[in-house]
Every structure is written in C-alpha cells, then in structure tokens.
C-alpha cells in the first residue's frame, strides 16, 4: 500500500452502508440533546416496562445527569467512530458484521448507563463483554488477535460472574433491584453481614472491566482490535463501564472505610502502573492503552473519596479523558492506516504530510498534558483539588496524581513530537492525508477540548454538576473556572509540567530503567494468567487421563466402590440387628438347593474353561428355577428353565466362535493385586446387598396390592392364573415395554450379525 500512488488505490474510499449507519448514533445523540436542558435543570426521565417481574427484573430506564453525560459521550464518540470506520474498514470483507457489532455494542453500552435495574444493567454489561470479544478478535486470522480476544473475554467474563454474584447477594438479602430505590437502603446494606462480600463482588466486576491492577493486562492486549474499536471500546466507553458502576453504586455502597481505602489503593496503583508503563512501548496504540490505564486508575482513585470535590474531579477527568483519548486513538489509527506502522522508531516528520491530523493530535495531547486553555488544564486543577480533599490518605492521592500527571505530560510530548516532527523518513515519502471521514472525528474532538477549556463554567453547569448531583446527595454548587487564582493546585500544575518536561528529556534512560525493573518483577498477573492457563490445561489433561482411562474394569470398579461406600456407609452401621438370624423354618430341600446354586456359581466363577462355566451357569439357572418351584412359583420356574435352555443354546452357538477364555489370574503381581481388589469390592457389594435384603425381610410385608390381584384376578380379569393375569392385564404396560425390549434386541442383534465387518464401506 505504501508504494501505491493514491489514484490507483484498489480499495474503495469508504463503506457507504457503514457511513450511513452513523445516523443511528447521531439520532440518539440528538435525542439526548433534546432532553439535555431539562436534565441539566435537575429533571429525571424514567421509563419502565415489565420483563421478568418475578425476578424483579424490569426494563427500567433512567435518564439523569450521570447517564446523560455518559450517553452523550457514547453517542458522540460512536458517531465519529462510525464515520471514521466507514473509511478505515472500507474493503474489508466483513465490514457489514463490523458495523452491526459496533452499533450493537453501542446499544448495549447505552443500556448499561440508562438501566435503572441492576439485573438489566448486568445483562447489558455481559452483552458488551461478548460484543467486545467479537470486536477485539475481528482480525481473527491473526493468532494474536484471537488470543487477546479470549483473554479479554475470560477476564471480563470472570469479572461479570463476580458482578452477578454481587447482584444476587443483594437480591438474596432482600433488597430491591431498582438502582434508584437501592440508595434508600444504604444504611441497611452497609451494616449487613454480607456487605464486604457484596462490595468485593461489585468491585472485582468493576475492576476487570475497567482494567484495574491486577486485572489490567487484557486492556493493552486488546489493542489488537481494529483502531476504531480501540478508540470506542477501550478509550471512551466500555472500560468506563466499571467506573460508571462505581459511580452508580457510590450512593449505595460508597463512603465506608472499606470502600474508600480499597478504591484509593487500587486506583492509585493502577494509575501509577499505567503511567510508568506508558513510557515503555514503541507501539503508539500500546502507549495509549497504558495511558488509558492511568486514567482509569485516577478515576477509581477519585471515586474512593466521598467529597463533592473528589467526585467532581472524577467526573471532569472522565470527560477530559474521553475527548482526548478517542481523538488520539483515531489519529493513531490514521497514521497506521496511511503509513502501515505504529512504531515510534519508524515514524517522524508527518506534520507536513498529514497537517490536519497533526493539528488534531496537538490539540488532544496538549489537553492530555494539561496546558492552560485546554480542557485538560481544568481537569488537572480540579484533580489536585479533589486529591487534596480526599478523606483517606490525601497526600498519597496527591502524590499519585502528581506523578501520574507528570508522566502523562511526558507521554503526551512523545506522542506529539516523535511521529509528527523531525525529518520525514524515506519510506514515508508517499504518505498522504486521510480522507475527510477519518479527519473529522479527531479534529472535532480535539477542537472540543479547546472549546471546553475556554468555557469551563458552561461545562460545569450543564454537564458536570448534573452528573455529580445524580450520584452524590450533597447539593453543593460546582463551578469550574479557567483560572482559579494562585493556589496549591495551580502550583502543582506547574510542578507537573516541569517534571513532565524533565521526564521527556530523560525518556530513553527512564524507558531502559523501567524495562529492567519490570523484568525483575518475579510475579505479574499476565504471567499468572498465562501460567494459570497452562496449568489449568495440564490439570485438565491429567484429570482426563485419570478419570477417562479407557479401562472398563476400572470404570466398573469405581462404580462398585461408589455403591459400596455410599450404601454401606449409611446402612452397615445399622445392620447389626440382622446378625441375630431367626431360626430356619421350612423345607430343608430349599437349603439343599441354595447350596447347589452356590456350588454351581462357584464353578462359574473359578472356571478355567468355557465348558465348565457354561455347565455351572446351567446349574445355577436350574437351581434357581427349582427354588422358584419350591416356593410356589411354577410360572417363573418354567420360564426360567426355558430361558436357561435357550441361553445355553445361544451361548454355545456364539462361544464356539470365540477364543478360549483367558485365565482369571495371570502370573505376575499386578494382576494378582487386581484380582484381590476385585474380590474385596465384589464381596463388599455382596455384603451390602445381603444385609439390605435381610433387613427388608425382617419387617412384615404390606400385601395390599397382591390381595387386590388375588381378589380381582378371576372376577374382573377372567383369569385363574394370577401371575399371568398380572402380566397381560393388571400390569400389561410393563409387558408391552418388555416385548419392545426383546424386539429391539432382535433388530439390533440381527443387524449386528448380518453386517459385513472388517471392510471399509464402498465409496
């Protein structure tokens, strides 16, 4: 692509369908704008439809200041990303799917922020997880993209399960699922025994989605998504879902010491880690991903506070970040699209080739670095104010913010200066500016950074104040100014810019140092994830080898062992009373028959040759038939004898065609051990069965059903042979099933016999 002049470009300039689909986010943005004035004035729109009322899940939506702010960000970014993607994705074979997923994702995201029902929010939350999986893996032919998509899915999916558990814990404790009602139960929830569990569950859910350390690693890896996706999902919207959740839950779960300390700690760590890591990579998108981590960490840090100031800081910075980050991602995507690389070492001097992109990046980076007159400056001022106002560890918070901001300034400088200034490398000679569709987004958002920076009062009145009021009870007026006067935050800003410059100057040395330090870390979560995955697969394979080892006799042994252990353990302790066997009464011939049957069975068990075994089987069958006869059951005696005869005929017919039996005890110890094991197992099972049936016959039998059959056999069913009447009349359904079995056996058996074997089917 690099060598091709623009006029012979084969790929279309822009995907029309995709471009027109930008009307969807635009329309939604317009609708939100219509409601904006009233929401800014404090109005709250709600709508509710029943969905699953039995689970307290309704399609309840709520538009207040907070969801308005998020909604505006989502739809606006969505609008520009769609326009941008219509060119970026042009010519891609699956761009239809791309735009469908993109808009589905946007809808789900809007669902999260507008849902007024925890379960509904969760459903949208999971939808974003799935759709982001599809979008991160969009370039699915690259192994890296697939792997990263799975990583993101597993990490955020696991977080989703925590969130679900949290929600269900809240529900099982009897609290409502409606978010706006949940705030009323604040005190009850915070004193509930399950509060820590609930808090942890929600927190982990938010942390995974918002890339907080130690679940952060999926986010930089998710950069294998197409750049519009990174801009939309991993800068402006999805990763903010966790932040949104924390904001929404702030009035419910927030404000406790647990909440404050955990959030400040987690957020601080993430911010610092992200900022430090951002200096490392040479891939522009990866740098941006780490700065996103930093931003998310800072946001979490500020949500740990409970003063209006720190929450205002969070909300303001959220906006600042959404604007500059989306713009930067899109611009980086443009560079990538036009030059084919995002590597800092290969880029330079693009200012002359891509002037408008340069301007947009300049606007965004200056905002990011927090230069005065840019919106980022306002954000930074309020951040320092907020950090100083934290109730828990304000100095820690301030320190973190300061160092993170300083690093950000340096990173902003890297992003602006390296690719755009300096000499133009030879291989970039044929680079040209992007089509308008790819310029409008970064340019507009960069411009907005300046506009907001000049008129912060309007922004604070119409966007930030309504948003903060939506999740904070205090109605303290929030006002942002271009210049707050000479105060501590301003001083800190100056320190930030200076140290940022120092860091930029020393960037090579720092980068080396950070790289070395990171390598020295003996445990990292990406490492844990990888080794966990490997170990999991290893365990899985080992478990499979042990459990499904293919040996029928082991399978059977396990089954018998289970039977003996389960049944025996509960029953044998009670079985003592049947040891006192009552005296034997009745025909002694029966005793003789028992002995005969057992003897014949012993022949079968110990037989070394088939013939002996068959003879023994015949003996057992005949003996059993005689037992039936002796105890008044001529019908079964007859049937048993006949079945036995037929079985013997078939056994002989078939066994004649089989090899001789193998000896039951092979020489060699393992097999001897096995035989012993089998003997013990089968003796145990026999003991269980013997004791059970002895126990059963120790009680009198309720002969009610038999009496009924005796009474009605002739009178109602016209038969004198009660057994036969039961078979063909009283319980004829059994018999019907039984002849089904035998007919099926015949069908299957005949087919098995007839089918030619050993040869492959003819083609």
């Amino acid at each position: 692509m690099l060598l091709k002049p623009p006029e012979t470009e084969a790929v279309p300039d822009c995907c029309r369908g995709g471009l027109y689909s930008c009307l969807l986010p635009f329309g939604l943005f317009g609708l939100l704008c219509l409601a904006w004035p009233r929401v800014a004035g404090g109005a709250v729109f709600t709508a509710q439809w029943a969905w699953v009322p039995s689970l307290d899940l309704n399609l309840a939506f709520r538009l207040d200041g907070l969801s308005l702010l998020f909604g505006l960000i989502i739809t606006m970014t969505g609008f520009f990303v769609t326009i941008y993607a219509s060119s970026y994705m042009a010519g891609h074979p699956h761009n239809g799917r791309f735009f469908v997923f993109l808009h589905a994702f946007m809808t789900a995201m809007l669902g999260i922020v507008f849902a007024d029902n925890l379960l509904l929010m969760f459903i949208c939350w999971e939808a974003t997880t799935v759709l982001s999986f599809l979008l991160i893996g969009f370039d699915h032919e690259k192994a890296e993209a697939r792997e990263n998509a799975r990583q993101a899915l597993l990490v955020t999916g696991a977080g989703g399960l925590f969130l679900l558990m949290g929600i269900l814990l809240v529900k099982s404790a009897g609290f409502p699922m409606t978010l706006s009602l949940l705030g009323d139960s604040r005190d009850l929830i915070q004193t509930h025994a399950l509060y820590p569990a609930v808090f942890i569950c929600f927190l982990v859910g938010a942390m995974t989605k918002s890339g907080q350390v130690p679940f952060h690693f999926w986010l930089p890896n998710a950069m294998s998504a197409p750049t519009p996706i990174s801009a939309f999902l991993h800068a402006a919207t999805m990763v903010k879902a966790g932040i949104y959740l924390l904001m929404r839950l702030h009035p419910v779960l927030g404000g406790t010491t647990l909440w404050m300390s955990t959030l400040v700690l987690v957020g601080g760590t993430t911010a610092l880690w992200g900022a430090v890591q951002a200096l490392g990579p040479c891939d522009l998108k990866r740098i941006l991903a780490y700065t996103t981590l930093m931003a998310l960490g800072v946001l979490t840090l500020f949500l740990g506070g409970r003063t209006v100031m720190s929450l205002t800081a969070a909300t303001t910075f959220l906006m600042v970040h959404a604007l500059y980050k989306a713009a930067l991602f899109l611009a980086v995507g443009s560079i990538d699209h036009q030059t084919g690389t995002r590597d800092l070492n290969l880029l330079g001097g693009l200012m002359t080739r891509m002037p408008l992109t340069t301007l947009a990046v300049a606007g965004a980076t200056l905002s990011m670095a927090g230069f005065p007159l840019f919106f980022g400056f306002i954000g930074k001022e309020i951040m320092y104010a907020g950090a100083l106002a934290e109730e828990i560890w304000p100095l820690f918070a301030t320190g973190i913010t300061l160092s993170a901001n300083a690093l950000m300034t340096a990173v902003a400088a890297i992003i602006l200066i390296t690719p755009f200034f300096g000499p133009l490398p030879a291989h970039l000679k044929h680079t040209w500016e992007t089509p308008w569709t790819m310029r409008i987004g970064p340019a507009f958002m960069g411009l907005l950074g300046i506009v907001f920076g000049i008129m912060p009062e309007w922004v604070s009145k119409h966007l930030i104040q309504p948003a903060v009021f939506a999740f904070h009870p205090d109605r303290e007026e929030i006002r942002l100014f271009l210049f707050h006067g000479i105060n501590l935050p301003l001083l800190l800003s100056v320190v930030t810019l200076t140290s940022g410059a120092v860091i930029y100057w020393q960037k090579t040395r720092l980068r080396r140092g950070i790289g070395a330090a990171t390598e020295k870390l003996w445990v990292t979560t990406p490492g844990l994830y990888q080794s966990g995955l490997t170990r999991f697969l290893g365990t899985a394979a080992a478990v499979t080898r042990i459990l499904q080892n293919g040996s029928l006799s082991i399978y059977l042994s396990v089954i018998v062992l289970t039977l003996v252990l389960l049944t025996g353990s509960v029953w044998l302790p009670h079985a003592a009373d049947i040891v006192t066997v009552p005296a034997v009464t009745g025909p002694y011939i029966a005793v003789g028959l028992f002995v005969f049957v057992l003897g014949a069975a012993a022949v079968v068990v110990t037989a070394r040759h088939r013939l002996a075994a068959i003879g023994g089987l015949g003996g057992v069958g005949g003996g059993v038939a005689l037992i039936f006869l002796v105890f008044g059951a001529p019908d079964i005696a007859l049937t048993q004898l006949l079945v036995e005869t037929l079985t013997l005929i078939f056994v002989s017919l078939i066994l004649l065609r089989l090899p001789p039996m193998e000896p039951i005890i092979n020489p060699g110890t393992p097999s001897r051990m096995r035989t012993l094991r089998n003997a013990i197992l089968s003796a145990g099972a026999g003991l269980v069965v013997f004791t059970l049936i002895s126990g059963v016959v120790g009680h009198p039998l309720d002969r009610g059903q038999t009496t009924f059959f005796e009474t009605h056999s002739y009178l109602s069913a016209h038969g004198r042979n009660i057994v036969n009447v039961i078979l063909v009349d009283f319980r004829s359904l059994d018999t019907l099933g039984e002849i089904c079995v035998i007919v099926l056996a015949a069908w299957a058996g005949v087919h098995l016999i007839r089918r030619p074997f050993g040869q492959k089917r003819a083609p």
């Binding site: 001529p634 009349d729 007919v743």
Partner: protein, 132 residues
C-alpha cells in the same frame, strides 16, 4: 447330527414341543404357562430344528419372516390395547366377550402378541446366527 435315530427323535421331540407350546399358551390364562413360556418353548424347539437341520428348514416351517413375526407381535400386543379406547376406557383395558362356553378378551390377544413377539425375536436372532 448324522444318526438317523437322533434325527427322528429330534423331529419327534420338536413336534411334541411345538404342540406342548401351543398347549402352554392356551392354558396360560388359567394355569401356569402363557405367552412367554410358550414362545420360549417354541423357540427352543426351533433352535433344535435349526441346529439339526439348518436354518432353511426353519424358514420353510414358519413361512413368515421372523422379523415380521416379531413386529406383528408387537403391533398385536399394542393393538390389543386400542379397542378399549373405542369404549371410552383407558388404553389396555381388557374388553371381554362372555359366552357360556368360553370367555375371550383383548388380554388374550395381548398374550398372543407377546407370544409372536418373543418367538419372532428369538427366531430372527437364531436364524441370523445360523446363516452367518
């Protein structure tokens, strides 16, 4: 099975067994016996026939295909439950025709279905094995 005496004896025995089978079947509703025993008995008889004289002989003797016999037995047994539905009774309710001499009812048809099904099943496996 070369011996003539054995052959004759077998033939005689098989004939006797078949007659006995019919007898066992007929008396089954009142005395020990019934469809099962009768079918098993007849099955034994035919197995002896198959072993001594070969499968073809059995096929000729029974005329219909054993698999069809099994199937018709199943159909007959299940069908014996259907008349009850026309009388507004649940499936498999016995419907009886009573005369002074004898009483006949659907349970007897059911029993003959059992007989045919079991015998057909045994025979089809037997013949398949013998012919293999």
């Amino acid at each position: 099975m070369k011996s003539v005496i054995l052959k004759t004896a077998t033939r005689l025995m098989i004939g006797l067994m078949l007659i006995f089978a019919v007898y066992v079947f007929l008396r089954g509703h009142h005395e020990p016996g019934g469809g099962f025993s009768a079918a098993l008995l007849a099955g034994t008889a035919f197995s002896l026939l198959a072993i001594t004289k070969g499968a073809d002989h059995v096929r000729k003797a029974i005329r219909i295909r054993p698999s069809f016999m099994a199937l018709s037995g199943l159909a007959l047994a299940a069908g014996a439950g259907l008349p009850a539905l026309f009388f507004g009774k649940p499936f498999l309710t016995g419907i009886w025709w009573q005369t002074e001499l004898f009483s006949a009812g659907t349970p007897l048809i059911f029993d003959s279905g059992v007989f045919l099904a079991v015998l057909g099943a045994i025979l089809s496996i037997l013949l398949a094995l013998e012919e293999n």
